[in-house]
């Protein structure tokens, strides 16, 4: 029952820390630092500036400033000489294209203004999805610091022609000498590029192609190959699943590219069909946070329990070991069997044997969810070949290395060895979009265009072909990788022509190229084998399990390496949007850290004290794996398995990055064998204190934890939501005239009339929200939200208009009930703490609620914030004088204050401080200046544009035509925006849904944002 839970945000809260309590009462965690100078009497008295001098300065500067202001600047307008037909200044063009950077693959739509891309949105027609990283990729295009601008040789500029000539001669020499050359690329999933590479290697038989993924899923691909004869990743049709059991597979994160859309499609309580999701894992992952049931086990136990599950299902007795969660595994086996072919098992353990067992379980279940036909091509890396390359290069066997968009010097476990081995290689060429340690180690650095400047094609899954088209003229003197290879193969065709003819012969089968280009994708029937299922090969699972058991040798701590939602494999580490993006689980930005369980933290002596300005500190830990030692800050993580620690890859990259982005610790050296699980790890406390930029305890909502409503699928189906005692969505009651009445029957304010015109509502389904944060970055891009940097985030001055609050909850009684039970305060918290070892997690996107009766509006002394009749709470920045009363009066803590000018300010050297980075700004939204309040506007620029479009065309606004940036970025459809006065809009029905509720409804703010009660399928089948 929702009301019986205690919700908490930080471990410290459970310790009854008075600091957290005080913080929860402050809107801004920090006071204006007047004491810094006013408190310092001595300096004040000895200062040579007298009060009169001070007034003189003030007077003079004011006069000078007003004089300077009188003369307006001369603004030049430069029109095109020849205007392109499809560009109208001020009108956005959208292009369908695809992203494939080696780790993130997506069918997307790109919004361009005056010929420059400013936003990336999912191509929903192509079933495309975007993550925070895909959304942020548009900013990486404008990374003038890191992008390669012109071809160079050993740091000296060289022309393309000279580079081609010299490399051509060198390649010929190596060919004649028969010395092997390796072309090292990431996964490209591009059929035309594969063909070009084939032609290149045919023309030069000494060249071999090696695919290298920094974060390896090679084991899954190898296992699939062993069983089905084809090297690819299996697909999962989670939308049809009844029971999903995942053994450490973060499939809402980066496992096989993510399956959040299909997952949420299979979890719609209103249809009565909701899959049950059980997660067995050691780190608290995004997937685990969303699970109906999360079972905590350290990595070795995850592996053994997977074998145990195999035994339980097949009744075989392959080699395994008992684990503490065996009883749970038995229950899981029952549930899986009950679900039969609608059940599926996944594992994220990057070990071929574990993957084989997982496939075998699915075979035993006869799972229809595992899709082997429409398999995925997005992780083709082959870790063994990469390691062989390193050893060959070391021994001087390799004559040349050509890399394309990979950074093995940074991301290989033995990156330093690789860099050393390069000294034995005569031809070293890096083709790359961005500068990196690897590019630096090569002789030739050849710039390639960003995907938004390129032509190309993609083949993510067997049935899904996509096209990549340029959305901007190349910013720098770049040449596409494919063009380069074509040239080196002696061909004179341009890649564009090649691509076109390749598609017409190999892909389109008579369909129109223009149409495919317009759509950005092309669906193709997946060729099925005769009986519809490929015949799996026979593999002795007993043997597989024996090897797996032998290799799983737990002793000491166990380390589970993972990728964070923000940075992934670290390719976009120089992207300030992603660095500032708070991790969905820990809410920390600008860092990676060692996640340690509460029990282990107590034992070793780690803690995360909260400072009185709301920031969190952490102790350092020395982590030793196979002799490699790193020192990382510690984050105590509820839900982390005891005996295990977690550490994110993708951080600690420094080469060429801006100073501000030199954050975190590089975990790749610990990534032995490309395996995300490392045993025999030593964790010791190291000296020093790390300062986190974590929004965990900032902006708490003053203990009003009834902001969340959660129920179970069973209750949802059987209990009346408004039932006075057991209702899971009962209205708030207040005392009026000494009587309990429904809160919405009384009101301080007069009701607005909202029947005429539009009335916007935003509905957020807490059941569908996975906390992925794509909306957070989309909001950044759409609304020119500034990046403030680590220091400012630390003191609670982040500018996110939209944040995703993460609440932990545990099944214990409330304070009142604890009192009734006679538990002392200490006992209650102890009970809580044990529960906290594996809490339930709930995500709640929180932005301005656009209250119809907004507390902020009544306190503004200058009427800078006011209410529109379309339901939007409007903020006139130019009217705001910065009293911050509004923020203090906001119960949702969603107002943000511009403490500084974040644009054109060297103190905030992010994208708004350079000419390239500013190209990403949305010209329809102003960049706010210092001293004004800002907040979510419900994308009024988008609603106004939609209205204007309808007016221009002389028609009504279409059903579901209104969108906000967050709602259009939302992959799972958790956010739905629209006009409630148009009864056909989806949101109109959602506003009346029995799950709909307003947060803190007893305050009678009457928000225009509606939340849908979270439903968990907690009932065991």
């Amino acid at each position: 029952m929702a009301s019986n839970k205690k919700y908490w945000k930080s471990v410290e809260e459970l310790k009854d820390s008075s600091v957290v309590e005080t913080l929860s009462k402050n809107e801004f965690v920090e006071n204006i630092p007047t004491d810094n100078f006013l408190g310092d009497k001595e300096t004040l008295e000895t200062s040579s500036t007298s009060r009169r001098d001070f007034l003189k300065y003030v007077g003079f500067t004011t006069a000078a400033a007003s004089l300077a202001a009188c003369e307006g600047p001369v603004i030049k307008s430069i029109p095109y000489v020849v205007k392109p037909n499809d560009v109208i200044a001020g009108v956005a063009d959208w292009y369908a294209t695809s992203m494939a950077d080696g780790y993130d693959f997506a069918n997307v739509l790109v919004k361009t203004r005056e010929g420059r891309p400013i936003q990336i949105m999912p191509n929903k027609e192509a079933n495309g999805t975007t993550s925070a990283r895909v959304q942020a990729a548009v900013l990486s295009l404008y990374d003038e610091k890191l992008r390669l601008k012109e071809p160079s040789k050993k740091g000296e500029t060289i022309s393309w022609a000279d580079a081609d000539k010299e490399i051509g001669i060198e390649l010929l020499k190596l060919k004649e000498a028969g010395k092997p050359v390796v072309l090292l690329t990431g996964t490209m999933a591009s059929p035309s590029t594969s063909k070009i590479v084939d032609e290149f290697t045919t023309a030069h038989p000494n060249i071999s192609h090696v695919v290298y993924d920094a974060v390896s899923e090679a084991a899954a691909a190898d296992a699939f190959q062993a069983m089905y004869g084809r090297r690819a990743l299996p697909n999962y049709k989670l939308e049809n699943a009844k029971t999903i059991v995942s053994f450490g597979a973060d499939f809402l994160g980066d496992f096989h590219g993510g399956f959040e859309k299909a997952y949420v499609q299979g979890r719609k309580p209103e249809t009565g069909k909701m899959s049950r999701h059980i997660q067995v894992e050691s780190n608290m992952s995004l997937t685990g946070a969303n699970a109906d049931k999360r079972i905590v086990a350290k990595p070795s136990d995850v592996v053994f329990s997977l074998i145990n599950l195999y035994n339980a299902i097949t009744k075989e007795g392959v080699a395994s070991k008992a684990t503490p969660i065996d009883s749970e595994i038995q229950k899981i086996a029952q549930e899986l069997k009950k679900a039969g072919s609608k059940a599926v098992v996944m594992t994220g353990v990057n070990d071929i044997n574990a993957q084989l067992i997982s496939l075998a379980i699915n075979r035993a279940l006869n799972s229809e969810i595992l899709d082997i036909n429409n398999s995925l091509n997005i992780r083709q890396g082959n870790y063994e070949q990469v390691q062989k390359l390193v050893s060959d290069a070391k021994s001087g066997k390799i004559g040349g290395i050509i890399t394309y968009n990979v950074d093995p010097v940074y991301s290989l476990e033995n990156g330093a060895d690789f860099a050393e081995a390069l000294k034995n290689v005569s031809l070293k060429v890096a083709i790359a979009v961005e500068n990196s340690a690897t590019v630096n180690a090569m002789d030739y650095a050849l710039p390639a265009p960003h995907f938004l400047e390129s032509w190309g094609d993609t083949h993510f899954s067997e049935g899904n072909y996509g096209l990549i088209q340029p959305t901007i003229q190349p910013l720098f003197k770049t040449r596409q990788f494919q063009d380069t290879l074509l040239k080196w193969s002696g061909s004179s065709t341009s890649y564009y022509d090649y691509l076109k003819s390749f598609w017409s012969t190999e892909v389109l089968g008579g369909s129109s190229w223009n149409k495919a280009l317009h759509n950005g994708f092309f669906q193709k029937e997946v060729a099925l084998t005769e009986d519809g299922v490929e015949t799996p090969r026979d593999i002795s699972i007993a043997e597989v399990a024996r090897i797996l058991k032998m290799n799983t040798t737990p002793s000491g701590m166990e380390l589970n390496l993972y990728t964070k939602t923000g940075l992934g494999d670290g390719k976009q580490a120089n992207n300030p949007w992603l660095q500032e993006f708070p991790d969905p689980i820990t809410r920390a930005s600008w860092d990676n850290y060692l996640t340690v369980s509460m029990a282990d933290a107590k034992e070793i002596g780690f803690s995360n004290p909260v400072k009185d300005n709301g920031s969190i500190n952490g102790d350092f830990a020395k982590v030793t794996v196979n002799g490699v030692e790193v020192v990382v800050p510690v984050m105590v993580q509820p839900g982390q398995a005891k005996g295990s620690v977690g550490l994110a890859l993708g951080y600690g990259k420094t080469f060429g990055l801006k100073e501000e982005m030199h954050v975190g610790v590089n975990a790749y050296p610990l990534y032995k064998g490309g395996n995300n699980i490392q045993y025999n790890v030593k964790v010791e406390k190291a000296s020093g204190v790390h300062e986190f930029a974590c929004t965990q305890v900032q902006k708490t909502i003053a203990g009003r934890h009834d902001i969340l409503k959660v129920t179970s699928l069973k209750d949802y189906k059987t209990v009346d939501p408004k039932d006075h005692h057991h209702g899971w969505n009962k209205p708030a009651y207040v005392s009026y005239d000494h009587k309990e009445v429904e809160a919405n029957t009384i009101d301080l304010w007069d009701e607005h009339n909202r029947e005429i015109g539009h009335h916007f509502n935003l509905s957020i389904d807490l059941t569908s929200c996975t906390g992925c944060g794509a909306c957070v970055v989309a909001c950044h891009a759409e609304n020119n939200v500034p990046v403030v940097g680590k220091k400012e985030v630390r003191v609670g001055r982040d500018m996110h208009w939209l944040r995703i609050d993460r609440y932990y909850s545990s099944e214990v009684e409330t304070r009142e009930e604890a009192k009734e039970l006679g538990l002392s305060r200490g006992e209650m918290y102890e009970a809580l703490e044990t529960e906290a070892e594996n809490p339930e997690v709930t995500f709640q996107p929180m932005m301005c609620q656009h209250c119809n009766h907004a507390p902020c509006e009544t306190v503004c002394p200058v009427a800078a914030t006011s209410h529109g009749r379309q339901g939007q709470n409007q903020m006139a920045y130019n009217r705001c004088v910065g009293t911050r009363y509004c923020a203090n009066n906001c119960p949702y803590r969603v107002r943000r204050f511009n403490w500084f000018n974040y644009a054109n300010n060297n103190e905030f050297d992010f994208n708004m401080n350079n000419e390239y980075g500013k190209m990403v700004l949305n010209p329809d939204v102003v960049v706010r200046s210092r001293g004004v309040m800002e907040k979510c506007s419900m994308c009024i620029q988008m609603t106004q544009a939609t209205i204007l479009k309808a007016k221009k065309e002389g028609r009504k606004v279409n059903t579901d035509e209104f969108e906000t940036a967050c709602s259009s970025a939302c992959t799972t459809g958790a956010m739905v925006f629209g006009d409630v006065n148009n009864k056909e809009d989806k949101v109109a029905a959602l506003a009346e849904d029995k799950r709909a509720y307003n947060v803190l409804d007893y305050l009678q703010t009457k928000p225009n944002v509606i939340y849908q009660v979270k439903v968990r399928n907690t009932n065991e089948a």
Binding site: P79, M875, Y877, V926, I940, K956
Partner: protein, 432 residues
């Protein structure tokens, strides 16, 4: 009749000789008396509508220059050529040779009668009729220069007067201190003034009144100054090309949105790209003989200067007017933006032009009379709001408003609403 014909033949002979001279000198001068104006006018009209897109009198365009073409070809030859040059080429070797002059084939004009062709040829022979130079018709627009300079002058004058008086009184005192006696006899007026001054000095009420008066005047001046900060009404910067809206939108009646074509689609009205200029200026390399542009500062630009301005357009477009080809050397024009709104204001042209159907002149003033463009309206928020308060929205001719109109009519019996009643005064509609 015979005499007339003879006369005209004589004239024509005379004229032909004269035109030859003209042809070499490439100038077209006047034939005020001897010219058959009716025929010339008809020919000119036909030439303009049918020939001018490819031919000019004095210069090669797509086709050859046609001034005095009758000197080079027989009248009959020309007629056959004009009516159907393709057919004519088949039968006439000379015509086939002539066709090699330019690769693009000329359109056939079988619809033209012999008389019409004669008229055209007459026009090519006599050219333009020169009229007496027109004196610029006082068409200079009186710009509303901001009030600031005027009151500044008054203020300065007042300051000078005050300073003068102060110096005078100082001198007087100095001379008194030196021992010079006060002049015994003063003029009546001076004495009266002095007495008045002493009276005022001794009267507290008048002193207070005076102070209040001075403060009020001071406040008025200060507020006036501060409120005009950032208001650039009348702003008329010097542009890189002397572009006269009067000639284009006024005299030649080119629609505003022919050049500012994005006004109907976009938030920006758009400064036309150079290729739009070239749509016309590919054929118009020079202004008409007597064109005069009188600038604000009294500078008068004649044909020579204005032709140079057109040459600037060619330079920007990379057009070589001699070989009539694009060179590819483009040079974008850096116009000075006149109408500047602050960043925190969102304004959309399409909303006002396409949806509301407001004429450009409503905000931009009599552009068709402006030789040099200037900011006509103050572009202040008060100015916007005033219009939004008063203007009624046309609810009937746009399906978008259909439902709103019905609801309003049902509920309040309202037929007309102003923009502000529809929410047009909300802060968030323009500030985001």
């Amino acid at each position: 009749m015979k005499s007339v014909a003879l006369h005209s033949r004589l004239t024509s002979l005379f004229l032909k000789g004269f035109t030859l001279l003209l042809f070499f000198s490439f100038t077209l001068s006047s034939y005020s008396q001897e010219v058959d104006e009716v025929k010339q006018k008809e020919g000119r009209k036909l030439f303009r509508s049918l020939c001018a897109s490819c031919h000019k009198l004095d210069k090669k365009l797509i086709g050859p220059a046609l001034g005095g073409v009758e000197e080079r070809r027989e009248n009959e030859w020309l007629k056959s050529w004009i009516k159907n040059n393709a057919e004519f080429q088949k039968v006439n070797a000379e015509a086939a040779k002539a066709a090699e002059f330019h690769p693009s084939a000329m359109t056939a004009f079988p619809q033209l009668s012999d008389l019409q062709i004669d008229a055209i040829l007459y026009y090519t022979t006599v050219g333009e009729i020169k009229k007496d130079p027109i004196v610029a018709e006082g068409g200079v627009v009186t710009t509303q220069t901001g009030s600031a300079p005027e009151w500044l002058i008054y203020l300065l004058a007042a300051a000078i007067v005050v300073a003068f008086l102060m110096i005078a009184s100082l001198l007087k005192q100095v001379s008194e201190l030196k021992g010079n006696k006060k002049p015994e006899v003063q003029s009546n007026l001076k004495r009266d003034l002095q007495e008045l001054w002493i009276g005022v000095k001794n009267n507290t009420f008048l002193k207070v009144l005076g102070t209040i008066f001075l403060l009020l005047v001071g406040a008025y001046v200060v507020f006036g100054t501060l409120f005009s900060v950032g208001v650039d009404q009348g702003y008329q910067p010097i542009q890189p090309i002397v572009f006269s809206h009067k000639i284009h939108a006024g005299d030649n009646k080119i629609d505003c949105q022919y050049c500012h074509s994005s006004a109907k689609h976009s938030k920006h009205s758009g400064i036309p790209s150079v290729n739009v200029c070239m749509n016309c200026h590919k054929n118009i390399a020079e202004v008409a003989e007597n064109t005069v542009v009188e600038l604000e500062d009294g500078v008068v630009l004649g044909k020579a200067e204005l032709d140079m301005e057109i040459a600037k357009v060619y330079k920007a477009a990379g057009w070589d007017p001699e070989v009539l080809e694009y060179t590819g050397e483009e040079k974008p024009i850096k116009w000075v933006r006149i109408h500047n709104l602050p960043d925190f204001v969102y304004y959309n042209h399409a909303q006002h032009v396409t949806v509301a159907g407001i004429a450009c002149q409503t905000c931009h003033g009599p552009v068709q009379e402006m030789e040099e463009m200037y900011q006509y309206s103050p572009l202040t928020m008060g100015w916007c709001i005033d219009c939004h308060r008063e203007t009624n929205v046309d609810l009937k001719n746009n399906d978008y408003y259909e439902k709103i109109h019905k609801q309003l009519a049902d509920k309040y019996g309202v037929e007309k609403v102003t923009i502000s009643q529809l929410g047009g005064l909300e802060c968030g509609k323009c500030h985001y």
